[in-house]
């Protein structure tokens, strides 16, 4: 059942220089089912975070539609918008700045509960303890301040706060990127357990391809503000249909040194262009080994391949026939 339906969302920001425009997100569409995880991958500046903020109603898009559970997010205003946002809270990358330093953990995790009520009636004292238990923390942490906690503990608090919203969807914006490896494993395990027990969907934003493969049911690959490929995780990783995805996946090191040494990797030329000057036609064409004349002039539409696997490339047929190189 579709929980989140995003269609044709776009957003540009005025650049510091007058007249210039940063095209942060261009024509992004995807769907996310209840209890599923959509991994969004891409280089920094590819529009992953902006996409999340557009979907959550934190930034107003220039175009497009966003529906959560059939309700129009972009048409909502005031209290209705606030109530909608509470159904899809966000967990941020840096747990050192995403918690208000003047609040205790108890107040932080129960804030959504207080917001959801007509009046500020006292939240039952046990609520904070329940929420902390859900993320594997002792109730005694309720009286602590954020600066007294470690990074992993803070991120658990941030997750507890998101769960206090009783959410349908949690957006995780690089939520484990700032944690060290062992802590990261703990948080990922916690997120997966919570998905199983609470049936919450995740919008999992990350630049870590291996991690996305591990947690996501579906992935969307972004390049310069567009989704260039999306589909079921295993299918995309096993048979990437877009040259950019192929390049990304081949850049992930393989544990076996022999295999790693002998792999042939498709070349990606140069650097990511600036979002201030998105190339004509297919935005990837200046770096693409397969680029032809049509790529320079026409932006390829997203073409369905099979079973929800789709890619935006003029040469999809060529790649899929050739197989993974």
């Amino acid at each position: 059942m579709t929980l989140l339906d995003v269609e044709g969302v776009a957003k540009s920001f005025p650049a510091r220089r007058r007249k210039a425009v940063v095209r942060a997100v261009r024509d992004v569409s995807f769907r996310l089912d209840r209890g599923q995880t959509l991994g969004v991958v891409g280089e920094s500046g590819s529009g992953k975070s902006t996409t999340a903020r557009l979907v959550l109603g934190l930034i107003r898009p220039d175009a497009g539609r966003v529906h959560l559970d059939g309700m129009d997010v972009l048409a909502a205003r005031g209290d209705r918008l606030h109530a909608l946002r509470r159904r899809m809270p966000m967990v941020f990358q840096d747990p050192y700045s995403s918690l208000d330093p003047t609040w205790t953990v108890r107040d932080i995790v129960t804030e959504p509960v207080r917001l959801g009520r007509r009046r500020d009636r006292a939240v039952p004292a046990t609520r904070a303890a329940e929420l902390l238990e859900l993320v594997g923390m002792a109730p005694a942490f309720a009286q602590r301040y954020p600066h007294e906690l470690s990074g992993g503990q803070r991120q658990r608090v941030a997750i507890a706060r998101a769960l206090a919203c009783d959410p349908d969807l949690v957006a995780l914006d690089e939520a484990v990127a700032a944690l060290d490896v062992s802590t990261r494993a703990g948080i990922i395990g916690l997120l997966q357990d919570l998905q199983t027990s609470l049936g919450v969907a995740y919008l999992f934003i990350s630049h870590d391809l291996a991690l996305v493969r591990l947690v996501s049911h579906e992935v969307a690959v972004m390049y310069l503000g567009r989704i260039v490929e999306r589909g079921p995780t295993e299918r995309v990783y096993a048979a990437p249909a877009h040259p950019y995805t192929r390049a990304l996946i081949s850049a992930v090191p393989v544990p076996d040194p022999v295999v790693q040494r002998n792999r042939t990797r498709p070349p990606v030329l140069g650097e990511v262009p600036s979002a201030l000057a998105v190339p004509s036609g297919c935005a990837f064409h200046p770096r693409c080994p397969l680029a032809t004349d049509i790529c320079r002039t026409i932006d390829p539409p997203v073409v369905d391949l099979d079973d929800g696997h789709a890619a935006a490339c003029h040469h999809v047929a060529l790649i899929t026939k050739e197989g993974v190189s």
Binding site: S97, P101, W103, L115
Partner: protein
């Protein structure tokens, strides 16, 4: 399950530790505490009636009867200094409250909302800053009548841009913090964000500004009373005592010295404590102060 380990020093404990290291500030905080206490208890602790004239004691030097001497009308200087403390602290509080109540909300609004609200309010604040406080207070007193209340409300209005600037500047920084976006992402309404997230995070710079403005306002109260536009006779004020005694400075120097020292000490105390608070705020909050 993560276990609770030993608790690190709380933010307040760290603040206290740094503050106490500054000896002068601790002494000055004591001075302020005594001043406030004296102001509260003034009517009950004056040795003699501060307004009672004893012409036989005119310009009497310090003695057992008049601890700090008597003025040109034979009024007890110690009693007058004590009762004047009350007027001084009240005047300072009044001006600071008016200043805070005008400057803070507009500053929060301008800094958090930015855009045209910021432009309009900042221009208004700049315009207000351009008015000389003393002249403005004199003009207000001329229109509304003499008295500390009118004068101090005027001073409060003219000094409001100080709080405006602090509140706006800090709000501009805080609005970019992730915890503000985090609050937005769980559907916290704007007014509530400003009240519960922005305001508590600017307490330390505000306390500094309150302290400094108190000193400033007290100086203006003394100036206005010196000019005869503040506290009205026969009631005592450090400023008016100073003005009256200048004529007898040669015969009775303590008459000039004592109110002058009182003003100096009080203003110095508020400024020193303000600076010390700023220096004692934790590293993470210092950039705001």
């Amino acid at each position: 399950m993560t276990t609770v380990t030993t608790r690190p020093e709380s933010a307040f404990a760290a603040f206290r530790r740094r503050f106490v290291r500054q000896r002068l500030a601790v002494v000055m905080a004591g001075v302020i505490a005594v001043m406030v206490l004296v102001a509260l208890l003034a009517p009950w602790i004056t040795p003699l009636d501060p307004n009672a004239q004893a012409l036989l004691d005119r310009l009497a030097p310090p003695s057992t009867k008049h601890w700090l001497g008597a003025d040109d009308l034979g009024r007890d200087v110690a009693s007058r200094l004590i009762i004047a403390t009350r007027a001084t602290i009240w005047a300072g509080l009044l001006a600071t409250c008016v200043s805070l109540l005008i400057g803070l909300p507009f500053g929060l609004l301008a800094g958090y909302l930015r855009g045209w609200a910021d432009t309009v309010l900042s221009r208004a604040a700049d315009a207000l800053m351009a008015i000389p406080p003393l002249l403005f207070a004199m003009a207000i007193v001329a229109v509304l009548g003499r008295g500390v209340t009118n004068a101090m409300i005027a001073i409060g209005v003219v000094t409001a841009p100080r709080f405006f600037r602090v509140a706006r500047g800090v709000a501009l920084v805080i609005r970019e913090e992730t915890y503000i976006e985090a609050a937005r992402s769980i559907g916290c309404p704007t007014g509530r964000i400003v009240r519960t997230h922005v305001l508590p995070n600017m307490m330390s710079p505000l306390i500094v500004q309150i302290s400094v403005t108190m000193g400033f306002a007290i100086l203006f109260e003394a100036s206005l009373s010196f000019l005869g536009l503040g506290v009205q006779p026969p009631d005592a004020s450090w400023g008016s005592m100073l003005q009256r005694s200048t004529r007898f400075a040669g015969d009775a120097p303590w008459l000039v010295l004592l109110p002058g020292l009182a003003i100096l000490l009080t203003v110095l105390a508020f400024n020193t404590v303000g600076d010390a608070v700023r220096d004692s705020v934790g590293r993470e909050n210092r950039r705001l102060a």
